[in-house]
Amino acid sequence: MKRSLFVSILFVVFALTPFKADAQCKQFAKNTCKVGLSPFQHDGNYHAAILLEGEEAELYKTFYSDTQYRIGICGANNLGEVEFSIVDGSGKVLYNNKFHGYEWKWDFKLESSQQLKIVVKVPVTNGMSNEPKEGCVAIMFGFKEK
């Protein structure tokens, strides 16, 4: 009976853990990243994932002329300085936050509409632990008419 109870508890913990992690990532995106987009209007899209140190993410999006944008890249505190760059269709790097003090956001506007790629890199830290760190990284967009 005791063993059944123990296994049942394990089962519940096991079943709920991924959901809890996802929910934490959502709350992180909402409370940390979305809030920082102000005075830009968040577009309502959600792009967030748990990333390991050393891991990369890419996001493709079309940005429109006559609109001002704020890109916000937010990483969990334990991940260190998350690097991001903005790359155009020809592969030209238009911005890299490592040359701007690892600023988490970038404001820009366009003279003509463009599809751009956002490349996000989680740094590898030289901690004492052998275990790779992981944490939530959110990519969010705000806009306003120019």
Binding site: F11, Q41, A49, T62, Y64, L94, Y95, P132, E145
Partner: protein, 313 residues
Amino acid sequence: MNIKLLESGKQFILLFAILAFISGSCASDKSKENKNADNSGLSDDFNSEMDDDLAEKINTAKRIFYSLPSPLETAMLIKSAGANYDGDLLNKVENTSKYNTNLKMALNLGIYTTDLSYASLFDQTQATLSYINAAKKMADGLEILDAIDEATIRRLEENINNRDVIIDIISETLLNSNSFLEDKGLQNTSAIILVGGWVEGLHIATSLVEKGANLKTNKLVERIVDQKLSLNIVVSLLENNKDNAEVQILLKDVAELSAIYDKITIEQSEITPVEDPNTNVTTLKSESTIKITQEVFDELARKVKELRTRYIS
């Protein structure tokens, strides 16, 4: 499920082990896929004994996200192009009772949220209330829990004359809905909703272009042509979920749109970023020239109308 099975400790442990194995397999598979899934937990005790090769694979795997303009951004683009409000273009809220399949509910959740965003940006208070209720019916039908709850609707009603608050509520509703689908691994539903909203944006925009408009200088036409830049994103979103039969239907639809967009050309010069040190805003300087004939525009408008009519039927 057989109750006796659950009552047996040994069999329960076996069941647990099987579930653990299945779950572990799914997580590993997902980590290798280039899709916008959130695959792992936040736990601090990452398995330190993980095989080095597997760790290397996970570390070098790239998460790929594809982002279409959200219903809010679509509505803003239409408005900023100088378009007017025309409520007759929107999907009737009475149609909600017709949508009984997941495909129709997902498509029309996208369509109604675009209509909602369009109505709210033009301060159409009654339409805003009607469309959030229509969107709620679709979200409820898809079991997207709490995306639009009664409290959201009450808050909207209480702030119906405050556009900034209304837009914030819509933005939060979209975020809740998107994150719920992401968390539940329902990327196929998410993709269908996005495509529904995107096609609705095209429908509103193409319908609002006045007959005889100069295609070279009309801002709304420019926005419609700009969607050519997002076509590969639409295709990638759907391709990532092509195991789903409903997604395959949409892939065919998008291929037909793509064939028409192939007749439109966009020539772009090199982009030069110039930062304003006073505002910290960077301008991406470039020139763009579009070429579209009246025949191609009419063909595109007809195709959009055909697809959208099917989606709302």
